[in-house]
């Protein structure tokens, strides 16, 4: 007889989850009738499970973002196998900080404005891209033949050591750069061109309290942009290209900054 087996915590959990066999269910119900205190606890646990389901239901009902479409992931993978820097790892780390009582409060306080800031940097970068990329006479202030001077000058103005990445492998060469205002701060724009005359820009300004973020993608009026924060600098790479074309370039730039070591080593 199944009823002979004593009731265990596994039975009670399976009762909460409605996973008991009919005969066992009868036995557990009988037990709960005899033990009203336990019955009340079990009812609470059912209520909490239902509350959790309800609270989280919205997420599973959202339309799936296109970046998670398998076809897009497979296509992106063919182009570039490099992993993105994982923002969730950074968040998890901040969570550890939270328990140590050092970071948790700061994190929530700083998160919302920070995302807004990252977005406005991307918007400014796209706007600057739009204005100067179409410029035939004076696309840059300082041409690439003075690259060392250009980089030194922009680094000094932006306040952080910058590098103009080498994008020859991606088919682009540096044509120069310029200094731009961005919300009262100095921003740098490097411009590149490929053999067919297509241009892309890399925009950089200091900012972002986060040490590192993952790529954020934005598209405005045909201009695509990937932005990220790394070692106290906000970067935005923009081009008139689609996401899958731009992603490997953004990754190449990110990778070069990683490989050239910490330009910001003795920083802050």
């Amino acid at each position: 007889m199944t009823g002979e087996r004593p009731i265990g915590e596994d039975d009670l959990q399976a009762y909460v989850d409605e996973r008991l066999s009919p005969s066992r269910l009868e036995a557990v119900k009988a037990y709960l009738t005899d033990h009203p205190a336990t019955a009340e606890q079990v009812e609470r646990e059912i209520a909490h499970r239902d509350a959790l389901r309800m609270r989280l239901a919205f997420k599973a009902q959202e339309p799936i973002p296109s970046r998670l479409r398998i076809a897009n992931l497979v296509a992106a993978r063919r182009r570039s196998p490099l992993a993105r820097p994982a923002a969730y790892a950074a968040l998890a780390w901040l969570a550890i900080g939270g328990i140590l009582g050092t970071w948790g409060g700061v994190w929530w306080a700083s998160r919302q404005p920070m995302q807004a800031e990252a977005m406005s940097v991307a918007d400014n970068a796209i706007a600057a891209h739009r204005i100067y990329v179409g410029e035939r006479l004076h696309p840059v202030e300082v041409p690439a033949d003075q690259e060392a001077h250009l980089v030194q000058w922009l680094s000094r103005r932006v306040g952080k050591p910058l590098t103009a990445p080498n994008l020859n492998a991606q088919g682009y060469h540096l044509i120069g750069g310029r200094l731009l205002p961005d919300g009262g701060e100095a921003a740098a724009q490097f411009m590149y061109e490929d053999a067919g005359g297509s241009r892309l820009t890399l925009y950089a300004r200091s900012g972002g309290n986060e040490a590192q973020t993952s790529f954020r993608f934005e598209e405005k009026g045909g201009v695509s942009a990937f932005s990220w924060i790394d070692k106290g600098l906000s970067y935005v790479v923009s081009a008139k290209a689609d996401r899958t074309q731009l992603l490997p370039i953004a990754e190449a730039i990110y990778k070069q900054f990683e490989a050239t070591g910490d330009p910001a080593k003795g920083r802050l």
Binding site: L52, R55, R84, Y88, W93, G104
Partner: protein
Amino acid sequence: MDEIASLLEPQIPGLRRYAWALLRDCEAADDLVQDTLERAISRWNQRRDGDLRAWLFAIQRNLFINGLRRRKARGTHVGEEALNDVPAPGMSPESHAGLHDVLKGLDALPEEQRSILLLVGVEDLSYEQAARVLDIPLGTVMSRLSRARARLREFMEARRSTALRRVK
């Protein structure tokens, strides 16, 4: 390709929900899901003829945990036991009372208890699937589930009595 998509895509809503519940940040959660899917695609051929759902949730949970470990190794001074005591990142600012409280209760639990409540209670994984995802024996699933629910209950009751006291 189409076969992979038709098998993986139905799992995405659940993976997103689990990721969001762990991270409580939309972008970061979708990054985690994206990494999970990318890994699943790249290891598609190594997938044993088993349970796809359990396999995917196991990948995602491991990526989440590895994220914690990697940061721990880089950041030093966090003991191994801290890993089990990691609360969810922060409390949702919009949470006041009622249903939202259950997320606060979830946040108060260690990761292993949060995960089991989510996998079994929300994602409807069977106990066997949960055992595979968490890589623990079935008996441990049951006792951990029991502990997690008891702890959530205690947390919620403590909150309720605090709230009542304030009203008086």
